[in-house]
């Protein structure tokens, strides 16, 4: 099973990004091989629809789990269509710590989907 986390680089640390659609990259952790891979978020700077494009990247990576502090409505539509499950994590936390927490069953499902920050 693959687990995705939106991330930012903070010095030498890889931390959870507060934004999903505009995170700079995604960490994809493969539980079976115990390896991780970095995917650049090409949508981060786009004028609109960043969440949708980011969700497409995550869906294409084969991840079935997304750990994120929040998620917008459009991104959620793509993620749910791709049968992904979303769990809530905290921004600023080290990404690998979040993954460990998830594997130990300490994270709750993300149920609140915000309306997105688009519309202008």
């Amino acid at each position: 099973m693959k687990i995705a986390v939106p991330i930012e680089e903070n010095g030498h640390e890889t931390i959870v990004s507060i934004s999903f659609g505009r995170a700079s990259s995604f960490l994809i952790f493969d539980q079976e091989t115990n390896t991780s891979q970095l995917l650049k978020n090409t949508a981060a700077l786009s004028a609109g629809g960043a969440g949708i494009k980011a969700a497409q990247v995550i869906a294409d990576s084969g991840a079935k789990i997304l750990l994120t502090p929040q998620c917008g409505g459009n991104a959620a539509k793509v993620l749910l269509a791709a049968r992904m499950r979303l769990y809530k994590t905290e921004p600023g936390k080290r990404a690998m710590d979040s993954i460990k927490q998830f594997l130990q069953g300490e994270l709750e499902e993300l149920t609140e989907i915000h309306e997105g920050f688009h519309g202008h």
Binding site: A43, S46, A47, G48, G49, A50, I52, K53, A55, Q56, A59, N74, K77, V78, L79, A81, A82, R83, H118, G119
Partner: protein
């Protein structure tokens, strides 16, 4: 006299765009008034036009036939607005992000996409006295009124020699750019405050970008310092009129009355303003109403 197309705009709402546009159109009869503020059109509240025609405005939107689609995702990769996504054998269309460019249809090798038409609002055409009144109404929840403005401006030239007054949306967004694009002249309406001067600068920069000749109408003027007046002087923007902060006017406006139809004083003021604009519009710009 040849017809002129005059856009009235301001950097914020409530400065008096509609007031100036409605009254200009009313002294320039026969004329055409176009309310491009499709998000909240209010010129019709003053004109109370007799409606003759209502026309729906639609935008194209792709629909997929999953029987023909093989999931190649060329359309998803093509869409610059990220209005399409592919997940689990399903093509998702995000209607509010689609700009209706039709590119997805062109790149689909299987001809699995076709266009449907989605209503986003309507335009209403009517008359009030000798003013032809065109108003755009955008449906609640829609993101962009640009197609409505295109529809409105497409209706303006009915081979007439009448002056056209375009009441723009507030600000300097795409909707405003669209509204002033074909105008011969821009009237910038501003309030006598620092905030007003800042918003005046915004629209002034926009009209400069489009190389439009412009002048300013300073509204709600008091016998105090006027930062908008200072800005106009510094930039060499001609002052077309200074309208006082006036109780009578406030009363007329809040009762939905057209000032020039009620008050001799305002009739004269707007006739003068109209003459001022007609003198300002360069001859070269005249002739494509």
């Amino acid at each position: 006299m040849k017809a002129r197309s005059v856009a009235i705009l301001s950097g914020k709402g409530g400065t008096g765009k509609t007031f100036v546009s409605v009254n200009l159109a009313s002294v320039s009869t026969p004329s055409t008034y176009i309310d491009c503020d499709a998000e909240e059109p209010n010129g019709h509240l003053f004109f109370k036009p007799q409606i003759r025609r209502v026309q729906e405005v639609t935008v194209p939107l792709p629909r997929v036939d999953l029987g023909l689609c093989d999931g190649c995702r060329k359309c998803v990769d093509f869409c610059a607005f990220h209005a399409l996504a592919w997940a689990n054998g399903e093509l998702l269309v995000f209607e509010e992000l689609c700009h209706g460019c039709g590119g997805c249809l062109m790149v689909c090798p299987k001809e699995a996409l076709r266009e449907i038409h989605r209503k986003i609002g309507e335009v209403r055409e009517g008359t009030s006295g000798r003013v032809r009144v065109l108003s755009g109404f955008m449906d609640t929840g829609e993101a962009s009124g640009v197609p409505i403005i295109k529809a409105l401006l497409g209706m303006k030239s009915s081979k007439s020699d009448n002056n056209v007054f375009i009441d723009c949306p507030p600000g300097s967004s795409c909707m405003v750019s669209e509204s002033i694009k074909d105008a011969d002249y821009c009237v910038l309406v501003a309030e006598p405050t620092l905030f007003g001067a800042h918003n005046l600068k915004m629209v002034h920069e926009l009209v400069q970008l489009y190389n439009k000749p412009c002048g300013a109408v300073l509204n709600k003027c008091l016998a105090e310092d006027d930062p908008s007046l200072d800005y106009c002087r510094a930039q060499g923007i001609p002052i077309l009129a200074q309208i006082p902060f006036d109780e009578e006017l406030g009363f007329l406006n809040s009762n939905g009355k057209i000032a020039v139809r009620e008050s001799e004083r305002y009739l004269m003021m707007f006739q003068e303003l109209l003459q001022g604009i007609e003198m300002e519009v360069p001859d070269a710009a005249v002739g494509h109403p």
